[in-house]
């Protein structure tokens, strides 16, 4: 599967679609679903923050795995099992390199961001917590980075503290600084907000937390598809993301943890592969990363994720970021031109997420009307109900960008929003 033959790499300097440095039309060809029609209209997919579409390479890779290599990993002495194990472990290496983690032992395959955060809550944080201890999160967290902490706070008597945000949707850095204190056992924040698009200054925040010896978990679900993440530079203690949001398959995600922390943690689930010796009286756990991977893993999913990272690398995350930023600027301009439309989330540093409300129509109605024109956006609380409560709104409409979106998609969105205004005139 040599993708460089099929995907326009960095060398392609054809400046299609204005400021872009890769050939967006060629990229769109890699995503067959973009050729689909919905209600007899071409699909305009702008719900990438919920899940991304998959390039043919990734789907082919999964198919090839099942049709040619499929076997269980780690325990077979025969050829297919060796092949499957190599491919599975090669995927771990790809993730390690992609995030610039120090060791492959720090890369744990999980179902997704949600499971990764739960694993840390359960195996790392919970045993540490006593009444009076604090877990620090922010107002803009996804439910997946709220509920696990609530659960363990309830169980241990610790307190969940919430860093406030300003009107633009940025973390209040002064408040953050004063909230760091010796009772704080963990800071858990998102790198990019799925509801607002805000890119948080996590590198600086990690540094501040570390000055007080507070470890940090970063929810990277919305960051990994859009920003180059260098875990050694970032110095995060834990980092989580989901395969399905980075052009990879569903049911697979990554928990990164610093080796010295993972070494000290009890296992999460018990079962095959995570043990090295079992008697009825006692069990010795396996070494990292396997200690945290009980049972048959999502083998095809892991391999598909590796293939998705290959795909991203072939285009280059810097190129993707440039493209999405240019499109974000264009979309922000266009949306701002609509009377009565208010953008929610206007941080200085933003990823390609456009949340908005309209004076005339509720987000839900907006989405239904857009859908009839083949335009897929999200309407609702985006699994950030506390943020919505803070903003005093029940729901926003949200368009979120990926590398294959183009100006035509934004123009279609605009036309759709004008239709909304006509209906709700």
């Amino acid at each position: 599967m040599n993708m460089r033959d099929r995907i326009p790499g960095k060398e392609t300097q054809g400046l299609v679609d204005n400021s872009l440095t890769f050939d967006i039309d060629a990229v769109r060809e890699n995503f067959p679903i973009l050729g689909r029609r919905v209600y007899d209209q071409p699909l305009v997919y702008l719900d990438n923050a919920a899940t991304s579409q998959k390039p043919r390479e990734v789907v082919d890779c999964i198919q090839t795995y099942y049709l040619q290599t499929n076997a269980n990993v780690h325990r077979g002495v025969y050829h297919l099992s060796e092949e499957a194990t190599s491919a599975y472990e090669a995927s771990r290496d790809k993730v390690q390199r992609f995030l610039n983690a120090k060791s492959r032992k720090e890369i744990i395959f999980v179902r997704g961001t949600t499971e990764a955060i739960n694993l840390v809550a359960h195996c790392y944080a919970k045993p540490l917590l006593s009444p009076g201890d604090e877990i620090l999160i922010s107002t803009m967290e996804h439910h997946s980075n709220i509920v696990p902490w609530q659960i363990i706070c309830n169980q241990t008597g610790a307190t969940l503290k919430v860093i406030p945000i300003n009107d633009a949707g940025e973390i209040e850095q002064d408040a953050f600084t004063t909230m760091l204190n010796p009772r704080c056992r963990l800071l858990a924040i998102t790198q990019v907000s799925n509801a607002l698009g805000t890119i948080n200054p996590v590198r600086q925040m990690i540094k501040q937390a570390h000055q007080q010896s507070i470890p940090v978990l970063i929810d990277g679900a919305q960051a990994v598809p859009h920003l180059q993440v260098d875990l050694q530079a970032l110095d995060a203690d834990f980092y989580a993301f989901s395969g399905h949001k980075v052009y990879g398959p569903t049911g697979i995600g990554i928990l990164y943890g610093k080796q010295e922390l993972l070494e000290k943690m009890k296992p999460y689930q018990g079962g095959g592969d995570m043990i090295s010796r079992v008697t009825f009286a006692h069990t010795d756990y396996n070494e990292l990363p396997y200690r945290f991977e009980a049972g048959t893993p999502n083998i095809a999913g892991s391999i598909g994720l590796g293939s998705a990272l290959d795909y991203i690398n072939a285009i280059g995350l810097d190129q993707i970021a440039r493209h999405e930023q240019a499109l974000l600027v264009y979309a922000t301009e266009q949306l701002s031109s609509i009377d009565g439309l208010r953008l929610i989330g206007t941080a200085k540093h933003k990823a390609g997420i456009l949340s908005f409300v309209m004076a005339e129509a509720h987000a839900h109605d907006v989405s239904t009307i857009l859908d009839q024109s083949g335009i897929a956006i999200r309407a609702g609380h985006h699994c950030t109900m506390p943020l919505m409560a803070h903003l005093g709104i029940a729901a926003t409409a949200r368009a979120s960008l990926a590398l294959y979106n183009n100006r035509a998609d934004i123009d279609a969105l605009l036309a759709g929003l004008h239709e909304v205004k006509r209906i709700f005139k």
Partner: protein, 158 residues
Amino acid sequence: MNNELRELYQEVIIDHGRRPRNFKVLQEYSHSQEGYNPLCGDRLQLFLLIRPGPEQVIEEASFLGEGCAISMASASLLTECLKGKTIAEAQTLFQQFHQLLTGDTAVQAEPEKLGKLQVLAGVRAFPTRIKCATLAWHALLGALNEDEDKPEAWVTTE
């Protein structure tokens, strides 16, 4: 605008969505129920005044809440229809309304019973919006069952 959208967003619905009727707390009420759709965040509170007696009649109905045009219009139209209905009649109304939206064949359709509520028939072409249209109705059922078994803090259409 295609036909389905035209059917869905009829003048009456846009109007009731924007200016819902009976949008207030009743000064005096006997039943109240919160309804909540976690999918989209629509929420409302329904208030009923039912005089006790052998023939339990809904004397007044009102609601407060926020949500999409469909859920607000449906709540608004519901409160209009309820006045003067007995509890048994209200329950029949629920079944008829549900039949209208889902085409449930277990219930025989008697559209004439629905009157003005028939403007919501367009929702049927939008399966994801049925929950919006029935939110107030689930709150109604919740309110009527309040006395009976354990009252839920809120009902949902999830």
